[in-house]
């Protein structure tokens, strides 16, 4: 590890790695140093539920040499906690090491699980928030001693983790405060097919309920108290209540922070030569211009690549991304959710089609001439085309009926 790198990147996940490999494409010489406080080399974070289920080893998840992460000569320093930042002397402070100097800095420290303060006893042994490989390993150790896990939150991560635990033979109860699972990604009515698939797969789901306290016995989780007065005995609790940006080390620095690092359109912070990308960055919604954070792997990669170009001297605007852009498959039910999908509050032009095995919702603006969002459940064919139409704010009059009928293909977009 050197005490100077031309490019220093704090954070070794999606945004940091994407930036490093992009910089290397444009600057074959400049030294690049990545710092992470995790003890593992960079890995594909969305895969960690597979460590819990035992379907993958940690080494199967490493980023270096996989996918687009094939550039060489990038120094990755693991187990290095960055404790501070001096934007005048251009140095980062490290917990157990002399400061490291830089010419260009990227802050891509990501986010950590949000732990709600109104639940008592969250520091009890047996309470988990799955975020890192290290968390996953801890969870694996606990799985064998446990027969019932209660999961707080109905988001994608918790659902994936829930299935990992089901596969390990545990009874799993999902406690969701919202009226339905996946409430961040769709309206309750949109989730009915997924809910049925989850129920059929043996997941117990309780909605409209919050936890108030973790019960413990000899320092270990022994149950959980819900706000409807019910107490569930369990040996394990997983918290999946969203994330908060990792910005603590910036206190005392000159970097402008507003629930995340405020980024301009060129992925730069307010300080010269200091850039930001990924979960920690506050960008803007391209549709409304309002500040936005997304906490999505794909968006983090995209912004990281943009930051990499800017750091290497190629000025590139980050055009923003859709705040909701998720695809996955749970309980053999694939789904995609993208763009504007919550339609209960405002006036939209909405088309729905329901069958026994599929559901789709297309959200147009009130005038019906622009596609704003889509939810596909069961059949997600050609979802990328709809994303393209949403993102490019395409004039859709000619193709609207194909969009509504889910028959859109690239030929329709050609001028032939």
């Amino acid at each position: 590890m050197a005490d100077y790198y031309k490019y220093v990147i704090v954070g070794a996940s999606a945004a940091g790695m994407a930036a490093a490999h992009t910089i290397r494409q444009y600057d074959s010489e400049g030294s690049i140093g990545i710092f992470t406080d995790e003890m593992d080399p960079p890995y594909f974070r969305p895969l960690i539920p597979f460590l819990v289920s035992g379907k993958k080893e940690a080494s199967d998840m490493y980023m270096e040499g996989s996918g687009p992460y094939v550039e060489k000569n990038i120094s990755i320093n693991i187990g290095m906690q960055v404790t501070g930042l001096n934007t005048i002397t251009k140095q980062i402070a490290l917990a157990d090491h002399e400061p490291v100097s830089w010419d260009k800095l990227l802050i891509a420290t990501g986010s950590s699980p949000f732990m709600p303060e109104n639940i008592e006893g969250l520091n009890t042994q047996g309470v988990f928030a799955l975020r890192t490989l290290s968390d996953a390993r801890q969870m694996v150790k606990f799985v064998d001693q446990s027969n019932h896990a209660v999961m707080l939150g109905g988001g994608i991560l918790n659902l994936k983790t829930a299935f990992a635990l089901l596969e390990k033979g545990l009874k799993v109860t999902l406690v969701v405060y919202s009226p339905e699972v996946l409430s961040q990604l769709m309206d309750p009515d949109d989730a009915l097919l997924i809910r049925k698939a989850l129920d059929d797969a043996g997941l117990e789901i309780i909605t409209g309920v919050n936890a108030t306290a973790i019960e413990s016995k000899n320092g270990n989780v022994d149950g959980i108290m819900l706000d409807n007065g019910v107490e569930l005995p369990c040996k394990m609790v997983c918290v999946g209540k969203g994330v908060k940006p990792n910005i603590d080390f910036l206190s005392g620095s000159k970097v402008t922070v507003n629930n995340g690092i405020v980024s301009n359109i060129y992925t730069a912070s307010n300080c010269p030569d200091v850039y930001t990308a990924g979960d920690v960055a506050v960008t803007f919604d391209p549709a409304t211009g309002t500040p936005m954070k997304t906490a999505l792997w794909t968006n983090a990669v995209e912004m990281g690549r943009c930051a990499g170009k800017n750091m290497a001297g190629i000025k590139t605007a980050y055009t923003g991304s859709l705040g909701i852009l998720n695809a996955t498959q749970v309980a053999d039910m694939p789904f995609v959710s993208m763009g504007t999908v919550h339609t209960n509050q405002k006036n939209f032009n909405v088309y729905r089609k329901v069958t026994d095995t599929s559901y789709r919702k297309l959200v147009f603006n009130a005038d019906g001439n622009q596609l704003l969002g889509a939810v596909f459940v069961g059949n997600i064919q050609n979802a990328g085309l709809y994303r393209y139409v949403i993102r490019e704010k395409m004039a859709i009059n000619r193709i609207k009926r194909y969009i509504i009928d889910h028959r859109l293909h690239y030929g329709h977009l050609l001028k032939i």
């Binding site: 995609v336 050609n382 994303r387 690239y410």
Partner: protein, 168 residues
């Protein structure tokens, strides 16, 4: 990676016979013969899609191997890489069937293999000199050529047409 051949499509020549789809599926079957491929389980899949554009155009669509390939950067498991020939390849062992690539591909050419829960796409037929779809096209609507050579042929064709119309 220089002068890599690409699959070009002459839309005005495509009659929509789907010979390319058939040839692709057979080329990606176990047996590599049409007769046996039909009985294979899971059924071999075509990686080329002939789409109909009203009123009368047909367009064979195939992975374009985009320069800034959205699928490769969006993949959450590192399954998609570019090989030394510039072809995007999905590592089936790494693919977890999350369909993120399907969500970001603007051409709609990444298929979902429902039986195996993996994605599939055009691999440009690595074992053949000419991709099966191109080889099978009876109207030569599909052309396998380098960008340089193909655009030259298009230029020549256009100038021939121009000279002809001058004479008329």
């Amino acid at each position: 990676m220089q002068h890599q051949k690409e699959i070009f499509v002459k839309i005005d020549r495509c009659v929509g016979c789907r010979s390319c789809e058939m040839a692709c599926a057979v080329a990606h079957s176990e047996s590599k013969t049409l007769f046996n491929a039909i009985f294979e389980k899971p059924m071999p899949k075509s990686r080329v899609y002939v789409e109909w554009v009203p009123p009368d155009k047909k367009v064979p669509m195939v992975c374009r191997n985009c320069d800034e390939a959205p699928c490769m950067f969006a993949c959450i498991s590192g399954a998609i890489t570019r090989n030394e020939d510039g072809i995007l390849i999905t590592d089936i062992d790494k693919c977890i069937g999350c369909w993120t690539c399907v969500m970001v591909c603007p051409y709609g050419v990444i298929g979902r293999h429902l039986e195996t829960h993996k994605t599939y796409r055009c691999d440009r037929c690595p074992d053949k000199n000419i991709p099966a779809c191109v080889e099978a096209c009876p109207t030569m609507a599909m052309v396998y050529d380098t960008v340089e050579s193909y655009s030259e042929s298009v230029r020549k064709h256009a100038s021939k047409e121009l000279t002809r119309s001058d004479k008329e």
